[in-house]
Every structure is written in C-alpha cells, then in structure tokens.
C-alpha cells in the first residue's frame, strides 16, 4: 500500500490529484476525480465540486449515517429531551455521551438526560413481528419514570424496513399521555432517520431540522426577557464552545433565546421564533431551520463564525449592526477591546513557532472552513481541506444552489412546505433587512469554503483513508485535522493530528478565549518533543564498528 512517489515540491496540484486517484478502478477514479478540485483563489472561477453523493462501497470513508446526524449531532446536545433510540442496542449505545457536548442545567432541579442512553433494544421478535408495541411501552415507561417535557424517538435502519410507523406511535402516545395528565404537557415526536437515508449524516440533519420545526418551534409565544434577541444555530457546545459564546453575548447585552443545540433546552426551542435574528454557525447542519423560520415567522438570518478572533469580532459587529443601536454597538466594541489584548499577546508568543507551518482539515460541514481562520491567525497555511458530508453550497457558496442537481438520495428527504404564519409573522424585520441590505449587509448567504482558500490548494470531498495516507505521504503537513477514526493512522506517521469534531480532550475553541486555547493547543501539537522520539537513537546511527569503550 505504500507506492513511492516524487516529493511534493515537484508535483503540481493537478499531479497530486492524479496521484490520489491513480490506484483506483476506472469507475471509482472517474467519480473521485470530480470530488477533488484545485482551488483558484477567487470566487468567480471556483470549480464545481461533486459532493453530497454516495460513498462508493468498499471505500474506507470518514462518513457516518443519517441517524448520527439527527440524533447524534442535532438533537443529542439538548439536555431535557428523553431521546429514545428505536432499534437494536448498538446505535443508541455508540451515540451515548461520545460527542463531548457539554451542558449546564441552571439548577439541580432542572432536567438533564444527557448522561442517559434510552433504547428499545429490539430483539428478533420485534424485528419479525414489528416493534410498535415495544415502542409504545417504552414511551410509557420513560414517561412514568421521568415525566419529561419531551420524548423523542429515533429510528434506526431496521425500523424503516419492517415498517414500524414511529410517527403514529408518537402521535398516539402524545395524545394519551396528555389526556391522562392535562396539567403536565409532554411533547412526543419521532424522526425517520434510518441510517440508510441519504448519503451521510447530512440527511439526518435535514430530518432533525424538519421535525424540530414542525413539532417544537413556535410552541410557546412568551418571549424571553431582554433586548436584542437572537438564536445561534449550528453550535453544538463541543468542549464548551457555547459557554464562551453565551458569556460574550451576555457581556455585549445580547439576549440569547436559544442555541441549536449546544447547552440547549427544549423550552428555549419552543420559543425560538420570538427572536429577532437567526445567526448560523454550522451552515450545513441547520440552515433548513433558519430558512423555514424566515418563511414562517419572517426572522432574517445571516451566517456568523465564532471560530477565530477576527471572525468573532466581525460576527459580533455584524449582529450589532443588525440592531443598529448605538448602545449595543458601543458595548460590542468594548467587549472586543477587552478581549483582543490577550489574543494579541498569545499570538505574539506563539506565532514565531507556528508561522509557516502547514495544515490540512477534513471534517464536518463547516469546521473545515472555520478553522482555517484560526490557522491563518497563527500564520499557518492550509494546503488541503474538505468536508465529510457537505453539499456544493458549503464548498462553492449558496449562489450555486439553483444549479445543484437533486439526485434520488436527496429527493427522498422531505422538503417541508412552509407557509407564512400571518398572526406571528413580523413584517418589520423584512423592512429592516431590506434597508441593511442596501448598506451592503449580507443576509441568507454563505460564501462557502473554496473561494476563501488560496490558489493551488486542494478541496476534497468525502476524503477516505487511502487518500488521507497519500496526502500525508505527498505533503507531510505539520498538522492534520479530522475525526477520531483518522487520528491514529496519521499519528503513526509522526504527524500530529487534531480532532475537530470532538476536539480530543480540548476546547473551548470558540470566541476570543477559545482562539487562545486553540493557538496553545496547536503550538503544543506541532512543537511537541514526542515527534522527535519516533526514531530510536541506534536507528539513525546503526554502525557497530566503534565498539563501546568502557574506560
């Protein structure tokens, strides 16, 4: 598996691309070639990249499944929903506490089901005769034990095949339980997020978005106290990122209505529609909710990024600009001014050791883009990057959406038909949005990753193990970022690897404080002594002629 190739310096990006696909059978090579593109460094000439398409069987992919995207990513971080996995035990077991999303219930009395794993643990009988009775009973038992505000059901692969109607069970149990105790409202809803839906976690995000929008958002019209109300979408509080953002907002005087879904509570989802603005962090996983909320409630959205000090400051300023209030603008400036000296001091200390080093990022649906900003701040160059489950709009920008061809796999994921909610639609936002747009403030847009990458760097969709190994061999980057499955094969080559899904053990990396943490972490990784110990002293100097002299 280790073919000898010319050193990187002699290879053009196009040659690298050829190297990556050389060994593939022709059909595989043809498809992969379209998923590997050389960046041009400018928006207009960004090449089209094939993405959100099936992984070829037998390819060791980084991807997971729809269930992982739905239950694991989007709904997993919410502390007060009893999330029941309907299926055999595995899926629920593996998604139990493994993503490092932290949560902080306000008091000991508040619900927190995060440390629990709930499953119907289907057995052979359930597969043969159907699992709906067991599911009904499981919901009943969960209700009797916990009296939660919400119970959610997540379908795994066999459920769809055997034809269990999880939505009917959810509906029925919701009715029954609320009838039994009209004083305690319990919401019950289900997700058809079977692992075979779509081509990656992405389908699961969409399914999660649809159901949360249908069953939860808008349930409670009582607004949260406070001024400048916003939602943060696509922030999952890995390693405590949401805590940093919450702190920044508080100091700026912004009111955070809800976060989807880091450190979140279903009670906040229920009134998310009372916010004045939606801001999006991870565009891929959550843009659907933002779009639907705008259609139904008139709430505008724009993209923000709290990864990297520069981007954090930019995002806070943009939010302040949206509200246009002098007091807010001043407070935001004050907070930025308070935070920046520490950031600059950290960079001054660290940058001499990181500048000029190189990185590669292959992860998720937004982080492969966002984290390039942090590397840039450290003077590091991103040689290649790509997403695991993104679509063309995440790569090339939302401007290409009209030209994206919807294939059979995506067509199977429902697009909700959303209408204006006349009673609750806020016309005034529309006017504000128009006015701001005239000033050059961009809404409902995401520019994508590729236009922001340097000329002659690579964008690679759904990178696999073979190509990752090849990239390491050809480029020997100073650091490689991906997920847990990729981590240790990279490190066996003596190249440090940083997980950007779960952050290994680190974080938070959001905001200014997070940026400092990240600088330190990367400095630690790329300059660690351990990489110099890989070769034993005798292997670099194997001669034995000069026998040891004991004198």
């Amino acid at each position: 598996m280790s073919t000898k190739t010319k050193k990187r310096k002699e290879l053009t990006p196009d040659e690298v691309r050829q190297e990556l696909i050389k060994k593939y059978p022709p059909k595989v090579a043809r498809k992969r070639a379209k998923q590997i593109q050389v960046n041009t460094g400018e928006e207009a000439s960004t090449p089209e990249i094939l993405s959100n398409v099936r992984t070829i069987p037998g390819i060791i992919t980084m991807r997971g499944c729809s269930y992982a995207g739905c239950k694991g990513v989007v709904l997993g971080p919410t502390r007060d929903i009893v999330n029941i996995t309907h299926g055999p035990i595995g899926c629920g077991f593996y998604s139990w506490l493994t993503r490092r999303n932290q949560t902080q219930p306000p008091t000991e009395e508040h619900e927190n089901f995060l440390p629990y794993c709930f499953s119907t643990d289907m057995n052979e009988n359930d597969i043969v005769f159907g699992g709906m009775n067991k599911l009904r009973q499981a919901i009943r038992e969960a209700y009797d034990l916990f009296k939660p505000r919400a119970i959610a059901v997540f379908s795994t692969c066999p459920v769809g095949l055997i034809g269990d109607d999880v939505h009917a069970v959810a509906r029925e149990m919701k009715e029954t339980l609320n009838k039994e105790d009209p004083n305690h409202f319990v919401n019950v809803f289900a997700f058809s997020c079977e692992g075979y839906k779509g081509v990656s976690q992405s389908a699961g995000h969409h399914i999660a978005n649809n159901q949360i929008f249908t069953h939860v958002i808008g349930h409670n019209d009582e607004p949260k106290e406070g001024k400048y109300k916003i939602n943060v979408l696509g922030e999952y509080n890995i390693g405590g990122d949401a805590f940093v953002i919450e702190d920044l907002f508080e100091r700026c005087g912004l009111t955070l209505v809800s976060t989807f879904s880091g450190n979140s509570s279903i009670y906040d989802f229920e009134r998310a529609h009372t916010a004045d603005l939606n801001t999006i962090m991870c565009h891929r996983s959550i843009n659907y909710v933002a779009e639907m909320m705008e259609k139904k409630f008139g709430i505008p959205w724009f993209k923000v990024n709290f990864i990297g000090a520069v981007e954090t400051a930019k995002s806070l300023r943009k939010i302040a600009q949206y509200f246009g209030d002098k007091e807010l603008i001043e407070r935001v400036e004050k907070v930025i001014a308070e935070e920046m000296p520490a950031v600059e001091a950290a960079l001054a200390e660290i940058k001499p050791r990181t500048a000029g080093k190189t990185a590669m990022l292959f992860v998720g649906g937004s982080r492969a883009h966002h984290y390039q900003d942090l590397f840039k701040e450290m003077g590091m160059k991103t040689l290649a990057a790509g997403y695991e489950f993104a679509h063309r709009d995440d790569y090339e920008g939302r401007r290409v959406i009209p030209s994206i061809q919807v294939d059979a796999d995506s067509r199977n994921i429902e697009e909700l038909d959303v209408h204006k909610d006349d009673a609750r639609y806020k016309e005034s936002y529309e006017a504000r949005k128009k006015a701001l747009e005239a000033e050059g403030c961009e809404f409902s847009d995401y520019k994508g990753m590729m236009p922001e990458m340097e000329k002659d760097t690579l964008s690679i969709d759904d990178l696999n193990q073979f190509e990752a190994d090849k990239l390491i061999e050809l480029y020997k980057p100073d650091i490689f970022c991906a997920g847990i499955k990729e981590k240790f094969s990279i490190q066996k080559c003596g190249v440090p690897m940083k997980q950007l899904h779960s952050y290994d053990s680190g974080g938070p990396y959001a905001g200014f404080k997070g940026a400092i943490n990240f600088y330190k972490e990367i400095d630690r990784l790329v300059n660690s002594k351990v990489w110099s110990f890989v070769k034993a002293p005798w292997s670099t100097n194997p001669e034995l002629q000069a026998t040891y002299n004991w004198e």
Binding site: Y24, P57, Y94, N112, Y116, I127, G195, A408, V534
Partner: protein, 461 residues
C-alpha cells in the same frame, strides 16, 4: 450537581425501555475478532453509520487506528438487497487496500433484508473479484440477537470456517481461542503457553494490531495477528483450549464437530484459580511439567493476597459487563473474600446465572446477591442506591455512578474510553491477577487517603 439525578431509588418494572445498556451490538465484536487475523480488513455489510460507530468505539478504546470497509447502503440497496454493493466493495478493497483477507459481517440492516453472505461470497469468487491467494470470509451478525460478544464469537467461527479444513494432517499443535480479551491479554496467554513449551495456534490474535507501536510509518496491516498459514492448519491440531464459554465455546465446538478436533472450554484465566485451571489444562494436554518460573509467578499472587487480605475482605462489589469476564471476576473476588452483591450483564444467555450460582455456593458466599441477565446499568444503579457497595468494576460508563455515589471504581471490560493500560497490561494470568489486585487496592486506599479524618490517616498500609 449529581449526574444521574433522574435515577430513582424505587425500582419499577420495565419491559420495553433499556436505560444505560450493559451490552452493545454484534458487529463490533465481529470487527474486533477479524482484526486478529493477519492482513485482514473487516468489512461491515450495511449502511456506513454502523461501521463508523464501530470503528470509532474501538478506536477510542485502543487509541489506535481501526480500519474497516463498509458496503455503504443507501435506500435503494436497502430495498433491493446489498449484493451489488458487496461485490463492488470486495473488488474495490482488493484493488485499493490490498488486504489478504476480507472478513465480512452483517448488520441489522442486511440481516433484515435477508442478504445471504454465503451466496454473495461465492459469486465474488466466480466473478473473479477475489484475487488468487486472497480470501473472503464471513459471519452473520444480526444485532438484534445476543450482544457484541455473540458477534465476536460468530466471527471466530467464521474464521474457523473460512480457513479450517477437515482431514488436515496432524500437527501436534493446540488451538487456543483467547475469547474477547485485550491484546495485552492475548500476548500474556501466548507467553504462558510458550513457557509451558507448547506449540499453539492462537486466534484471533489482536496483539500488535490494535496496540501497535509508533514507528513513523502507518501500515494498515501490521505484521501481527493470526497467520493465514497457521489458520489453515487448525483442523490438524490435537485439541482446542477455548477460553470463555460465551465468546469461545461455540467456535471450539464447531471445530470439534467439523474437524474432529476435541475441545476443552475453560473460564477466562482471570484471577488465581481460573489461571490455575488454564495452566493445569496446558500441562495435561501438552504432557509438560509446569516450570518453576510459573510456580513463582503464581506464588506472587498468593503472596499479594495474603499480604493485603485485610483490605479486600468483606468489601461489597457491584460489577457489570460480559458473561465470560464476570464469571472469572466473581470467582476471584470471592477468593479474596470480597462480596460481589450486584451482578449485571446485558448479554442474554441461559447458563450465566447457573455458573455464578455454582461459584457462590462453592465459595460459601455469606450474603445474598442480586444478578440480572439482560439487565442494564440503570437497574444496577438502583440496586446500589438500595444496597450500597464499596467498589464498582465495569466499563467506562460506570464513572457516572462512581462519581454520584462516591464509590471507588476499577475499569474493566469494554469499552474503556477514559483510561489507559488495558492495551498494554494484561488482567489474565498471574501477572493479570497482580494487576487487578493492585488496581482494586489503589482505589480503596486512594479513597482512604483522601477521606479519612486527619487523626486517623495512616502512613503505612
């Protein structure tokens, strides 16, 4: 703030809802077993999420790369069957990753669809998708039956089926099935067997595969694992020593029936007497005297037990995990005069309860104990709330109970996601018994050091 604050002391009957499971699904066990064959790439026949989960969990447990392929089912494959996906996968894998063996296991999805691996593997052969000298072996591992241990066992049988042949010329070797233990344990079993001067074939053998050294290069297939040329000879061995009834028993009996290789099934050699039984069996089947070094190793265990008996004696223990581990652990705890009062396994099975009962009777367990087969950690926690214990033994997920209830906790079993050591240091054999006692003692004494009143703090234990 308590972590498991929703776990009530009052126990109510649950028939449908599993909370905090004490088992996981078959394919992960099959994947682990397949990694113990040299040059083998495990392959998950289903949608890619299962494979991603299994690889991630094994990776977190070992902090080492775990490679495996997937048939990447989409909705179409789920409706029409996964044959085309698997055929394509086999071809791609042999071309791109170049393993010597592909070990295919099913998932709930392909099982529910009813894909027939036998037939698909034959077709791959016929269509020339399996290069000369390469192999496709397989096991059916429906996750809605049994547990991860069942999957491990099924793949062990898949390996035996794939490579073993009836009427193989006799080699005089013995087959050893190590059961689902850590690579460090497999290494230790090999060391002990070599010390007994026996020729053996141990499979699966994950030592050196999932605990590989960092040498500056990555090899998807390291020079480790059970060799194919050895596996082809398992039918010619004079007998099989199978460790662990649940993980190894079925494969041993398969080889007995199919290859006429007789077998002895022993409990995992965890603890003093279980190791004694293992050594004694090797002595008898090999016709070898036990060398003095082994007597000395054993003597150290007895020495430790006698030196520190006061700290073990009478301590109550709650433990959960896989049946094979639990059987041997319970016996060892009893031999230390400890009291395993709460025992839970998520793995279903008929004999477990009886085997524990026999140990309890034989060791004259002085107090009643609770046991649940197919139970979960939620129930175990409730038991603990009703009858507190001094020690927890089980996988990483026990730490939430340990912290809420302030109970010393020794991690043992699968998965261990938050501590190191299991990859490198065995808990089987006499060395393993020493390590187990050290771990137990340390958590007890650390607690005493932290919590005893100043006036009572001891310098010497």
């Amino acid at each position: 703030m308590t972590l498991l604050r929703h776990t009530p002391k009052d126990i109510t009957e649950r028939s449908a809802l599993t909370i905090n499971p004490a088992k996981t699904c078959q394919p992960i066990g099959a994947m682990y077993a397949a990694l113990g064959v040299r040059g083998c790439l495990p392959h998950s026949h289903g949608s890619q999420g299962c494979c991603a989960y299994h690889r991630s969990t094994l990776t977190r447990h070992y902090k080492d790369p775990i490679s495996a392929g997937t048939s990447s089912f989409t909705e179409g494959a789920s409706v029409f069957g996964g044959q085309a996906n698997l055929l394509q996968a086999i071809q791609n894998i042999f071309t791109i990753y170049e393993p010597d063996v592909i070990a295919v296991h099913t998932t709930c999805l392909s099982e529910t669809i009813g894909d027939d691996l036998n037939q698909i593997a034959d077709k791959a052969q016929q269509e020339g998708k399996v290069p000369e000298g390469k192999y496709v072996i397989h096991a059916s591992t429906p996750s809605y039956v049994g547990s991860h241990v069942t999957g491990f066992s099924n793949m062990c049988t898949g390996i035996a089926k794939g490579f073993g042949r009836k009427d193989t010329p006799k080699t005089g070797k013995i087959n050893i099935l190590p059961g689902w233990v850590e690579p460090s344990d497999m290494e230790e079993i090999k060391r002990l067997t070599s010390m007994m001067d026996l020729k053996y074939i141990l499979f699966p053998d994950t030592s050196g595969v999932v605990n590989a050294p960092l040498l500056g290069e990555y090899h998807m297939f390291p020079d480790a694992g059970a060799k194919i040329e050895d596996l082809k000879e398992i039918g010619g061995s004079k007998g099989t020593v199978a460790l662990g009834e649940t993980a190894s028993g079925p494969t041993a009996r398969y080889m007995d029936t199919e290859f006429k290789v007789p077998c002895t099934v022993l409990p995992l050699p965890i603890g003093l007497r279980a190791t004694d039984r293992f050594i004694d069996t090797l002595r008898k089947v090999g016709g070898r005297n036990v060398p003095a070094v082994i007597d000395n190793e054993r003597g150290l265990v007895v020495d430790f037990m006698s030196d520190m008996h006061q700290y073990f004696h009478g301590k109550k223990v709650a433990l959960w995990g896989d049946p094979d581990q639990l059987v041997s652990l319970v016996e060892f705890l009893r031999d230390l005069d400890m009291l395993p009062v709460h025992i839970v396994t998520g793995t279903p099975g008929k004999t477990f309860e009886k085997r524990i009962a026999a140990i309890m009777e034989e060791t004259k367990m002085p107090v009643p104990y609770k046991l649940k087969v197919g139970g979960d950690m939620f129930l175990m926690h409730q038991w603990i709330k009703n009858e507190p214990v001094d020690l927890l033994i089980g996988n990483t997920y026990g730490k939430y109970i340990a912290r809420d209830e302030n109970i010393p906790f020794v991690r043992h079993g699968f998965p261990i996601l938050d501590r190191q050591g299991h990859q490198y240091f065995p808990t089987v054999g006499y060395k393993g018994a020493l390590r187990l006692m050290e771990m137990i003692l340390n958590v007890f004494l650390d607690k005493a050091d932290r919590e005893s009143p100043e006036a009572k703090l001891e310098l010497v234990y």
